[in-house]
Symmetry: C2
Subunit: 152 residues, 2 copies
DNA sequence: ACTGATACTTTGAATGTCAAATCAGTTGAA
DNA sequence: TTCAACTGATTTGACATTCAAAGTATCAGT
């Protein structure tokens, strides 16, 4: 069960990274133009996306929250002017979600922050190395998917 | 401002990874022996550590929460039998925190899960590649630290 | 002994979440 | 055609996590 030192270090660093990134995002948000949004509201905007009009159900699944939770979240985002509800003409039960102009502004601002972050992530690496980093992330995604399979 | 496709992919994957890891940790926990613990309680146990007896203040700083928040969290963990409060003999104001036997069990179980995760992360890579991955994580940590500097 | 600083605790409010009950609209089978 | 079952969304009540602010206890320096 002995673990190599480098594995232990990677463990520690990975842990720090994925816990702190959310916190940093939150801090960044609080100091931006969009300081009346919480981190989970931002993720909701992110899950709706720029040009699509996904259903409420779809967005809830993307975020891994219940429909009830999403309904409440969307209500706030509509009040704040970031999201619009659009009734589906073919099926009146369905609510399609769409970002307003303000919502799209927010989306892009958040993406810009992510670009900065990714740029720093791969800083100093050449194309070959960057591919390798992507492959490592693919490994991690595979691990996550496995875990999701295991607990249906 | 155009972003190369690979950077965009890495962005998406990184985002997925750091949001989903917390979720699968939670799921894993709910199906384990320690299902009466929440993810944040687990992180609190993690921040106390196996053999140390850090002060309440230190742990709060590690977790980036206020002391009030930590006091409440510790109260629950003491009730559940994972943590002990130990009064500092030299300064009666200070509360040192220490894991119980049960708390140490939990700590080790969680570490084992992390080991699995890291093993999958670097799967298929040789030593040189693994060093490179570590360097990329260092970049990301540097980015996080920069952001923390920027917002004091 | 007094004063200010330090370490922790308590409390009240806000937020995010879920499960369960409910509402509204659709679909398919008798 | 009609109604029962289903589906998508909403509402509601409860609970967990967190913070800010006020409070308590103790310490250190003068």
């Amino acid at each position: 069960m002995a673990q190599r030192p480098i594995m232990k270090r990677i463990n520690t660093k990975l842990e720090k990274v994925y816990r702190d990134i959310l916190r940093i995002e939150e801090t960044e948000l609080r100091h931006s133009r969009f300081s009346n949004l919480s981190i989970s509201e931002m993720h909701t905007i992110d899950a709706i996306g720029l040009h699509a009009t996904p259903t409420s159900r779809t967005v809830a699944q993307r975020l891994h929250v219940t429909q009830g939770t999403l309904t409440v979240a969307i209500k706030h985002l509509v009040t704040k002017g970031y999201v619009e509800r659009v009734h589906d003409p073919k099926d009146a039960r369905i609510v399609n979600l769409q970002l307003t102009r303000k919502g799209r502004l927010m989306y892009r601002a958040h993406q810009a922050f992510h670009q900065q972050m990714v740029a720093s992530f791969v800083q100093g690496f050449d194309d070959h190395d960057i591919q390798l980093i992507e492959a490592a992330l693919d490994n991690l995604m595979a691990f996550i998917n496995e875990q999701d399979q295991k607990r249906p």
